[in-house]
């Protein structure tokens, strides 16, 4: 064999292995994220950590001199309330927009609206937070006569606007995936468009719509800068939408810079990171399985 051919063989062999390694890089990184975040928090987790207190106590006093307490229940409530509020606003509007784009628009307007929604998705989270802080804050104080405008309502509206693009795009895909024969059959029966949407399209696309909603929830729980700026800084279980809260993500972002590396407080923040990672992992997994369910169904039909 010529040396050049041999050299090509060797080269190809190495390149293909490099491609294989890069191919599984995503798996390596997901494990890497879990491993390294876990590693920083493990020391505390296996010695002093009290999971019952951690998840059921509302007392978050990480810097107390006499009695440091790490209870994140109020912070979980903060994340949950803001996410709940965001979804309360985002899901109906996103569904409406997805139905409009998929069922009522001509091809030209469809393209334009999709581009606009894409732009909405491109706005950086810190800019959203800034909007919450500088624009929504005074507006909420004025309209609701609230003492402070940085609260669940503010964070919820901001997160709703942030998660609308992903919900719209997944829902629109789901509606597009409903076969046209369903629409034709409905029209042939003489139903109105509203009846067709409500009774045929939404039931047929429900898995995709569910996946869209789930990804919206995942996005909202994981969002950091926007809620850090827009929800105020009160560790408390909110009584209403006008109460300030603190979320899991904002707690890490706000406190990590001020703790000593390796201290208990520092390690607890990494444990919160693991908790956040687990939540979003499960949500993404469910959404993936739901979407895959659709693909299998579509393949069969």
């Amino acid at each position: 064999m010529h040396t050049r051919q041999k050299w090509n063989r060797v080269k190809e062999f190495f390149i293909e292995w490099l491609i294989r390694i890069c191919g599984i890089s995503a798996i390596i990184f997901v494990f890497g994220i879990f491993f390294f975040v876990f590693k920083e928090g493990a020391g505390f987790m296996f010695t002093k950590w009290d999971p019952v207190q951690f998840f059921t106590s509302i007392e978050w006093y990480p810097t107390s001199v006499s009695n440091k307490r790490y209870g994140i229940l109020a912070i979980i409530a903060g994340s949950a309330s803001v996410t709940f509020f965001a979804m309360l606003i985002a899901i109906p509007f996103s569904l409406g927009a997805a139905v409009f784009i998929s069922e009522f628009c001509g091809p030209k307007w469809k393209e334009v609206l999709k581009v606009i929604i894409e732009f909405l998705a491109a706005i950086p989270s810190v800019v959203w937070g800034f909007i919450g802080l500088m624009i929504m804050n005074p507006l909420i104080i004025k309209i609701f006569n609230a003492p402070i405008g940085l609260n669940v309502l503010n964070g919820g509206i901001i997160l709703a606007l942030m998660s609308i693009p992903i919900i719209v795009s997944i829902s629109e895909d789901a509606l597009k995936a409903v076969p046209d024969s369903y629409r034709e059959a409905a029209v042939a029966l003489g139903v109105t468009k509203w009846q067709m949407i409500y009774r045929v399209l939404i039931p047929a696309a429900k898995n995709g719509l569910l996946a869209g909603g789930l990804l919206g929830v995942g996005r909202s729980i994981g969002e950091t800068m926007a809620v850090l700026l827009a929800t105020g800084h009160a560790v408390q279980i909110p009584n209403g939408p006008l109460d300030s809260v603190r979320t899991l993500t904002a707690t890490i972002a706000a406190e990590l810079g001020e703790t000593e590396q390796g201290a208990d407080h520092w390690q607890v923040l990494f444990i919160i990171g693991i908790f956040l990672f687990s939540i979003t992992f499960v949500i993404n997994l469910i959404a993936y399985l739901v979407v895959k369910g659709i693909r299998i169904q579509a393949g069969e039909s």
Partner: protein, 296 residues
Amino acid sequence: MHPFQETEFSKAKQRRETLVKYGFLAMTVAIIIPLVLIIGYMIHEASPVLNTDFLLKAPQRGMKAGGIWPALLGTIYLVLMSLIIAAPVGVMAAIYLNEYAGDNWLTRTVNLAVINLAGVPSIVHALFGLGAFVLFAGIGKSILAASLTLAVMTLPVIITSTKESLAAVPMSFREACWNVGATRWQTIRRVVIPNSVSGMLTGFILEVSRAAGETAPIMFTGAVFYKAVKEGDIFAYNLTDQCMALSMHLFTISTQVPGVPEAIPFATAIVLLGTVVAINALSIGFRVYLRSRKKW
């Protein structure tokens, strides 16, 4: 009565149809209108200070005056470094997924991992970057550590976009190439990649826009409050330096520094927003152009 004459019933039905249509239109518009109002208001507030001097000058008097040059430059460094790191890995991962991987459990796991990587909260990426690059690898807080963190975070963008463009290359192209005796890698290199390079570029552009806007992942891995940089100096940072970044700077001046005149954070927000939107517009324009001239 004429059989095709409109009855009260059909008229009412028609009215309901129109109502439903406008109802859905209203919901769509309700998403877009606030966006337009907000951005208009921000531009209005920013206009007093928004000019080239603002872009090219360093912050002065404890960030209460001056421009944003060190932050803008830092963002450019971070974004380019993260692209240099993420692009080869992402492209090769996409080649693996589209050209090599069979339909088996490993491929499904990789796909799931890509989706999950995209869904990991940015603050968790920050913790990972701090634990893995800054502390474990011993790089320290630096542009390099921050870029690595951003690269891991934006990898799914490149993988997804490249994979799509590879999948769009018709199978017959590959078959023709195999039939003249080319190996798998030769086919990929000479036929598949040249035919999908545009989709890859779209992915790179999206990566850049995503990386430019992120704050949390760089907060603890390499971005700082202030760094002295001369006006218009483009070689101000080393890879091992910490740097300022636009997103971080916006966060700093709107929360940590009291007494900043309102126009400055508004202008910073508009520059950040404008950069990201312009990059996105570039990618959309590119996509439309390519779709119009596709040969197959």
